[in-house]
């Protein structure tokens, strides 16, 4: 083999994007000083959905774990926060990572059940587990049973006494979680595990034959995703102020919408969920006041993409222009370093 080959990942486009992305992050991080609360709130909501979308994409797009039960971890994280803050007086911001740990711990026994299933059965299995979580919590009267419970203003005010300060802190938390998740996914995919994950995505059989421990890799991914999803859930319900089984374990709000974003944007890419996120929010802002038509249009868009553009928008762009903003592939270049 010619020794004058070097392996590199970055491309000119990705390096330019890194600079642009850095500028964007700084702009968003300083938004509280120059933007209004409405845009802060919107960006924060987008950030939490970006985190959920990246996490689901990591599961489905890379590890091949097409879960339709991620709402289980959103709900468990949310309930964990309500219990920690309401019963034990733990500071809400500290309760967010702790809720992630609770959710990760619970994901282990769940994983041992659902990992026995494959493909479509796995998808249905995860959904069933989420429904069981919802039903079990609806039976616990100490958690408010089917009616749920509220987070009292006194608890939320321990985050910050004034609305402006709270808005700012919640905004940074949401943005922070999104960036952490994005960084985590990117780092994970560039690591050895990432290589293993990509191999599993392309063919589980083949990857096992070349020595990838598929069970361990998938389990690690599932638990890490459960941890982060639980944390995101805790942050979501800290801002919603109220949780009930139907709200916490909502299939539509925490999984279907997320799948929509990832599928439209392009599954199995880091850029895809970002593109999907923007499209979803644009459609929602435009159509939300049209009642049922809003849902019908969303459904039609999703069906169109599933039939006509299965790789999503980013899949099409990446193919057409060989564009990778988050370079994961290894490219060979002739010549020394």
């Amino acid at each position: 083999m010619d020794p004058n080959f070097t392996v590199e990942r970055g491309t000119t486009a990705s390096r330019r994007f890194a600079v642009l992305g850095g500028v964007l992050v700084v702009a968003l991080a300083t938004l509280p000083f120059w933007g209004d609360t409405a845009s802060m709130r919107l960006i924060a909501e987008m950030a939490t959905y970006l985190a959920l979308a990246q996490l689901w994409n990591l599961l489905a797009g890379y590890a091949g774990l097409v879960s339709v039960g991620q709402q289980a971890f959103v709900g468990l994280g949310g309930y964990a926060l309500f219990v920690m803050c309401g019963w034990y007086g733990i500071h809400p911001l500290l309760a967010i990572p702790l809720a992630g740990i609770v959710s990760a711990a619970l994901s282990l026994p769940i994983a041992f059940i659902v990992f026995r299933l494959r493909g479509a059965q796995f998808a249905v299995g995860t959904w069933v587990v989420a429904e069981i979580c919802q039903l079990l919590i609806a039976l616990m009267s100490s958690l408010g049973a089917g009616s749920g419970q509220s987070l009292t203003p006194a608890i939320v005010r321990t985050v910050a006494a004034s609305k402006a300060d709270r808005d700012m802190i919640f905004y940074w938390c949401s943005l922070g979680i999104a960036l952490i998740v994005l960084g985590l996914v990117y780092a994970l995919l560039r690591s050895r595990h990432g290589l293993a994950l990509t191999a599993i995505r392309d063919s589980e059989q083949a990857s096992r034959s070349v020595g990838v421990d598929t069970f361990r890799t998938k389990l690690l991914t599932y638990v890490v995703v459960a941890f982060a999803t639980g944390g995101v859930g805790a942050l979501i319900f800290l801002q919603k102020l109220r949780i009930s089984p139907a709200a916490g374990f909502s299939l539509n709000d925490w999984t279907v919408v997320v799948i929509f974003m990832v599928v439209i944007g392009g599954i199995g890419t880091i850029e895809g969920p970002i593109v999907g996120l923007v499209i979803y929010f644009v459609l929602r802002q435009l159509l939300a006041d049209y009642g049922s038509w809003y849902l019908i249009v969303m459904g039609c868009v999703a069906v169109f993409f599933m039939l006509r553009a299965r790789d999503g928008i980013w899949g099409w762009i990446a193919q057409r222009w060989q564009l990778h903003l988050f370079p994961l592939r290894r490219n060979f270049r002739r010549g020394g370093p």
Partner: protein
């Protein structure tokens, strides 16, 4: 009518006064010329959150009609502390989803910066809307959910109450009394079977201390409590067997309409036919009875409002009958109970704004809410006279579905013991066996 004239006259005087001021200004200096003839204040924004799509969309089906009526009255704005303010009502759909309700409320607070928030129809909308407002210091009025589900469901402390949020509706105690009054008027074995949906209303009503069961015992009824069932349940055969075994004459509980339709069909198949069936929440809408068909005749329910209620809209002067007729004429639909409350909550909002001293101070709007003493199309609203702080109660009577004349089925008021001013228009009869 006299009120209308005086209002018009008042307006005329305002205009004259403003013109006089304007005229004086013109003489005093040219800078005043830029001012409009009438002192016009900034636009006041009211947020209106209600379920218009999703499983309980029936509650919000009249929203557009009701808002159109109120907007017409408010075309010239409201005079607040001597200044005429235009008013916009911003409607948001909660999609019958508590997550969405919290989200749109936050949007109304942060983006639209509403001065006053209104939320209505079941605790899945009223509670998240109120929680957001309570934390963010936005004056808020909600309605159309039993007040215990709203107050205790949000961890309210009867001694302290809430700072920013107010609610008007009847309570668990009221509906329990009405149901017992209904049942006592017929001859039965006094054995009551109950199934409760596992949702805020079912939990509030089934509570062994603060709910319905203690009152039943006190009134001499023997309760066969079958406990909470999952809200989306579609098989009631086990419960129906137990009801048959216990020889239940009276059936009650809390059901969403589709669940009750399933229950009632299965009850017929298994030969369970009580003398009285009074499920709460299930039979509010004519559509619920139409789904069951003629087997629905004779079922009884709570009635919060009807065209025969002896009240009048303080905003438009319409009687409930005129209001319902206008609704039917405009939409071709039969009246439903929530339409009165949707109108009433907007009436209260207008009354509050008119009495507000400093519109730019949310605390002043809140004080005006607390001081409300006003008669709406659904009855008098007074938060000072409520059972707990921040709550005002409205009257409740018992009704029974009968074969209709103009529409397929009609809801007749058959028991008014709690509120004798509301006229009866039928006699309570046992279910045909």
């Amino acid at each position: 009518m006299t009120k209308g004239i005086s209002k018009a006259e008042l307006k005329r005087r305002d205009v004259l006064r403003a013109m006089a001021v304007g005229g004086a200004g013109a003489i005093v200096g040219p800078t005043f010329l830029a001012r409009p003839a009438r002192a016009a204040g900034r636009t006041i924004k009211i947020g209106f959150v209600s379920p218009e799509t999703g499983p309980i969309a029936a509650f919000g089906e009249a929203d557009d009609f009701i808002l159109a009526g109120v907007r017409k009255v408010l075309a010239n704005g409201i005079t607040i502390a001597g200044t005429q303010h235009p008013v916009t009502i911003i409607k948001k759909d909660s999609q019958s989803n508590p997550n969405r309700a919290a989200e749109v409320t936050a949007e109304l607070i942060n983006s639209d910066k509403v001065d006053l928030m209104l939320g209505s129809s079941t605790s899945d909308t009223t509670n998240p809307v109120s929680d957001q407002c309570e934390l963010n210091g936005v004056p808020c009025i909600t309605s159309d959910a039993p007040w215990q589900a709203w107050f205790f469901g949000r961890k309210g402390d009867p001694k302290k109450g809430f700072d920013w949020t107010y609610h008007f509706f009847w309570g668990v105690d009221t509906i329990s009394t009405v149901f017992c009054d209904l049942w006592s008027s017929l001859d039965t074995n006094k054995t009551v079977g109950a199934l409760w949906s596992n949702d805020p209303d079912g939990i509030a009503l089934s509570d062994p201390q603060t709910g319905f069961p203690p009152l039943m015992k006190k009134r001499g009824f023997n309760l066969v409590d079958l406990g909470l069932y999952p809200t989306m349940s579609d098989d009631f055969s086990a419960q129906i067997n137990k009801l048959k075994e216990a020889k239940v004459d009276i059936l009650t509980g809390v059901f969403v309409p589709p669940a009750f339709a399933t229950f009632w069909t299965q009850a017929a198949q298994q030969g369970f036919r009580p003398k009285i069936a009074t499920p709460a929440k299930a039979l509010l809408f004519p559509s619920a009875i139409e789904a069951i068909g003629d087997r629905g005749i004779g079922l009884s329910t709570e009635v919060w409002w009807s065209p025969h209620h002896p009240f009048k809209s303080g905003l438009t002067g319409e009687t409930p009958q005129q209001f319902c007729d206008a609704y039917s004429a405009a939409t071709g639909r039969q009246w439903t109970q929530p339409i009165g409350f949707k109108h009433a909550i907007l009436e209260v909002a207008c009354d509050v704004l008119k009495r507000t001293k400093k519109i730019d101070d949310p605390g002043s709007i809140r004080d005006a809410i607390a001081a409300t003493d006003y008669t709406t199309i659904v009855g008098p609203i007074n938060f000072a006279k409520g059972p707990v702080k921040n709550v005002a109660t409205t009257p409740l009577v018992g009704g029974q579905w009968k074969k209709g004349s103009k529409y397929k089925y009609d809801l007749a008021i058959v028991n008014n013991k709690m509120e004798p001013s509301i006229p009866l228009d039928g006699k309570f009869e046992p279910l045909a066996s």
